[in-house]
């Protein structure tokens, strides 16, 4: 039984580490291919990264812009 436990532990280690490496190596290769295809076919004109602006931010900025604009108008009088 104890032998078996040790054997099981060895199995997990060897196969586990092997699969982690193989999988991430496959990912490295696939990522490389993916990036090359995209960079070749869709050369981007440096677009600003999306996905991180929440609607709140947008609203907030709009309101503040408006507030400042309004303030400036009054000062100009």
């Amino acid at each position: 039984m104890q032998d078996t436990l040790l054997q099981q532990g060895m199995d997990i280690t060897v196969f586990g580490m092997g699969i982690v490496f193989s999988f991430l190596m496959a990912l490295v290769i696939a990522t490389g291919i993916m990036s090359r295809i995209i960079l070749r076919n869709f050369p981007e004109a440096t677009t600003p990264s999306s996905g991180s602006q929440t609607p709140d931010d947008v609203r907030l900025r709009a309101i503040i812009k408006a507030a400042i604009q309004q303030h400036r108008n009054r000062n100009q009088k």
Partner: protein, 437 residues
């Protein structure tokens, strides 16, 4: 008078056992570490508080209805339960609790119905644990939120750093061997499932550790989660000496090429690519990595900003509160105050150390075979512990070369480590189930 006696008997002081007292102190210690020492407070505040709640004597907050009935029921009820379990002469209530846990689902249902009829109910924390962790949902939702917070840009700019994230997972497997070794040597008594769950501490990733141990070793979940989050908080103490010992001053001064700009298309495609590789080669990692990729796709695709925002805020916060309290429910004295916990704590720190070393050594190995040199200090970030480990790399880099900012370079292996430990989790779940099933 009888009433007063009843109240006294139901009060905590009367019922408090030393174990519960100790565990309340442990809970307070976790709160102290979280609040004053800033040890992963988002998790350790709820875990520590939940741990205290779970150990309030007489409140039974962490017990199921059936367990509460066994602990508080009269002899008539205990006799009925022992009949249901087919135990002629149960040695103790503790033995009956274990027998219920091991009984077929149909028998468990019977015992539960008996407990409900007798007026016992599930404890609050038991309900939280069932919904949040036993169902698997809370760690997965956290992983989705983490995905929605993760920027794969640095990784995509330099995919080789995935190897660093792979190498650092050796900490996991070395720890599995260590746990097995302790068992073989007769010092501890860990099963192969226990060993796998302990090993995952080395993944330095809280939700992964909780997910794996809820499946493979629920009894050890409390100790494993506490170890995982504590050591993640200790990364700035654990890693530097190892990193210094394994690198030369010259290596630490290596400046890395600035990362190229990564476009939206690549960022949108990457989570789908990862998902497809998981689908093809590693279905057992599909829940964890699937939710992770889903969160990341929501972040990057740009058309579901309100969902991504909710995944990163309201949803992950709500889930964190209940996940933390649920983990706390596993800090019950009879589970946590066990020599195994000492073993877990010892193995956990070894896991972090080995993972750190493996990452650094792999970076040096990559330098042998490639032209663009990697500063080996970023290898240690492969253990994950996002973003703490990357900051440690940056700090040590600046010590050696004040113009060398490694932070963005270290973010690559850092997020690679998250993928790596999720892969390791999937492998271990499959293999342990095959072995024990």
């Amino acid at each position: 008078m009888e009433n007063l006696a009843n109240l006294w008997q139901s009060s905590g002081v009367y019922q408090m056992a030393w174990g519960q007292f100790t565990m309340i102190l442990v809970g307070l210690l976790l709160l102290f570490l979280a609040i004053r020492k800033n040890f992963e407070p988002l998790l350790l505040v709820p875990i520590g508080f939940g741990g205290i709640l779970a150990n309030i004597p007489g409140a039974h907050l962490a017990l199921s209805a059936a367990e509460t009935a066994l602990v508080s029921g009269d002899s008539g009820l205990l006799f009925q339960v022992s009949q249901m379990l087919g135990m002629d002469n149960p040695s103790s209530v503790h033995a009956m609790r274990e027998a219920v846990a091991a009984a077929p689902a149909a028998v468990q249902t019977q015992v539960t119905q008996l407990a409900l009829d007798a007026g016992y109910g599930n404890g609050m924390l038991y309900n939280f644990y069932s919904v949040a962790i036993a169902s698997g949902v809370a760690p997965l939702v956290i992983f989705m939120g983490v995905g929605a917070m993760t920027d794969f840009g640095p990784l995509l700019a330099n995919p080789r750093t995935l190897f660093l994230g792979a190498a650092a997972q050796f900490g996991i497997f070395a720890t599995v061997l260590g746990a097995v070794g302790l068992s073989v040597a007769g010092i501890m008594d860990f099963s192969i499932a226990d060993a796998a769950a302990i090993g995952i501490i080395g993944g330095a990733d809280g939700p992964t550790a909780i997910y794996v141990s809820s499946l493979l070793a629920p009894d050890l979940l409390g100790a494993i989660a506490v170890a995982a989050y504590s050591y993640m908080a200790l990364v700035p103490l654990i890693q530097p000496p190892i990193m210094r010992a394994l690198t030369t001053p010259a290596e630490r001064k290596i400046e890395m090429v600035q990362l190229r700009h990564v476009g939206t298309r690549e960022k949108i495609t990457f989570p789908l690519l990862l998902l497809i590789l998981v689908a093809l080669f590693l279905p057992s990692a599909a829940p964890l990595l699937g939710m992770f990729c889903f969160g990341n796709l929501m972040r990057e695709c740009g058309v579901v900003a309100r969902l991504s925002d909710t995944a990163q805020n309201a949803l992950i916060n709500i889930t964190t509160i209940f996940l933390g309290l649920s983990v706390g429910s596993k800090l019950a004295a009879d589970k946590f105050l066990d020599p195994k916990t000492l073993g877990i704590l010892a193995l956990g720190i070894i896991a972090f150390a080995i993972g750190t070393a493996s990452g650094v050594l792999m970076a040096k190995l990559l330098n042998v075979v490639s032209k663009n040199k990697i500063n080996p200090l970023i290898g240690s970030a492969g253990v994950s512990a996002v973003p703490m480990a990357a900051r440690v790399s940056n700090k040590l880099g600046l010590e050696s070369n004040p113009h060398n900012f490694l932070l963005m370079h270290a973010m690559g292996p850092n997020v690679a480590g998250v993928i790596g430990s999720a892969v390791a989790a999937g492998v271990m779940i499959t293999m342990v189930r095959t072995m024990t099933g």
